[in-house]
Subunit: 266 residues, 2 copies
DNA sequence: CGTGTCTTTGATATGCTTCAAACCCAGTGG
DNA sequence: CCACTGGGTTTGAAGCATATCAAAGACACG
């Protein structure tokens, strides 16, 4: 099960001409123009959706110090593993990650999905160790944020402290939403809610909300939603037949958001 | 659906002689000897499992200031409601609460359960509004912690800041554990995991880990675990028949923790 | 061009829900 | 003291959504 070394540098996957998966709306600095171009918070296009959101110019420079170190993670490679000690938090600059837990007798279960601008590793603050594995769904890059330094800095910068609390709180909200979904919806509602949620998140990042590319296999989606891969596949087919979406492989287009919303119950 | 006024003072339910539900191990200051006895953090028996855990004596006095205001909530009454603005966090001093979300077309779904020493309202920090209702499962009492003052104080007290982050992080961990449960376990495993989790939490509070009283109806437990009340009831019967527990109404005794653990998969 | 991974689709099995009825116990009022 | 009521619980029978098993198809990659 061991994968390529984490430190492996892999060039971001070239876009296949046939599948223009993600359609950017705003122009935005590329995730990593070259290896060590050291794009820091003050010049990062994610600064308004990421940890430093709301910080003053001077404070941004302090954040720059903190986030000097970047780390590339190849598709399928591990950023941190269950049991690892907490040294840093990771702000996702580009790419995406799944968070997986061992579901007791060896089976992995996906419990989280992270997109750019999100901070990973928060659940480890409490016990000082990670409880889950973070695995890159595509070639990705993160800012390494030493946790000790971050809290120290946040003592000086009230806005940063607020942001930290907000982000943690936001994670709680999101998890609770997912619990609502897992505990209370049928399969079709879960998939519809999942797609709508992705749409919202991509939109916030400046991508077209109605067409995007899934980074997960049917199996991973199923695991995330508490379903089997076959059920997920059938649901994609059904939603497509009903004209709510088109789904070619991992490229999704939402054709009828209103009816999708209706499905999950307004 | 409107219930008794929140400010109603109700005496804690007298213990019925026949059902000694909770068996305290440590001697501990009663949750609320009389109305305004103003038991503050520095003299509260929960100080080591609650927000102020780890604070120095001087800092504890600062916390006392912050938590002067207590609030009694009668069984079935609402502490805060979805849509309410965030003014305060609430530290649970005695009793218990369920957190419920509207599952879209009116049905309520239980997504959280809080025991003494836990801090409620954290999910509202992000959007400055609560997204769920908090409803007392029994006559309860909370410390009202004005959020603005708390963050202000935490700027002065690094240990308090750490505690705040830890508590938020702990909530994330717990929610993720529940997602693992909801998405990956069958009904029997869910109930077994639920009982073991309660056992651990009561134990931490100084109560006997093997016998406790459920504060929720079968329906509420089912809602929490993503099952129907009938299924929950059947499962209690089955676990009892198999000798893993005894269950009389809401009084539970765990008879075979090893096999319960085995069920959930180690 | 072949190999492996992912996906789709079909047939069958099953665990949980749904519907229904009886029961238990506490509280209430006759 | 007793029936009466009502919320909560238990148990049974039937139905259904999703899982499981199975096999074929579609790409992606070397």
């Amino acid at each position: 099960m061991s994968l390529a070394s984490v430190t492996t540098i892999v060039r971001p996957t070239a876009k296949r001409p046939g599948a223009p998966a993600l359609v950017p709306i705003r122009v935005c600095e590329a995730p990593a123009p070259r290896a060590a171009a050291a794009v820091s918070c003050s010049r990062c296009c994610l600064q308004n959706v990421c940890l430093p959101s709301g910080l003053a110019a001077q404070a941004l420079l302090d954040m720059d110090e903190l986030t000097r170190l970047k780390r590339r993670v190849a598709k399928g490679a591990v950023l941190y593993r269950s049991g690892d000690g907490l040294e840093s938090l990771y702000a996702l600059r580009g790419g995406s990650f799944k968070i997986v837990g061992l579901s007791r007798h060896g089976e992995q279960k996906v419990i989280g999905l992270h997109l750019p601008g999100e901070v990973m590793g928060l659940e480890a603050i409490n016990g000082q160790r990670h409880g889950y594995d973070a695995i890159a769904l595509e070639d990705s890059e993160v800012c390494v944020i030493p946790f000790g330094l971050l809290t120290k800095l946040s003592m000086r910068l009230p806005v940063l402290q607020q942001q930290l609390l907000r982000i943690l709180s936001g994670d709680i909200s999101r998890d609770q939403g997912l619990m609502l979904l897992l505990g209370g919806m049928d399969a079709e509602q879960r998939l519809a809610a999942f797609l709508l949620s992705l749409s919202r998140r991509y939109h916030r990042l400046g991508y077209a909300p109605l067409e995007f590319s899934l980074r997960m296999t049917r199996e991973e989606i199923g695991s995330y939603l508490g379903l089997t891969l076959e059920t997920v596949s059938r649901l994609f087919s059904r939603l497509q037949k009903d004209g709510l979406i088109t789904a070619r492989h991992r490229d999704i287009v939402l054709k009828d958001v209103a009816r999708l919303r209706e499905k999950v119950g307004h």
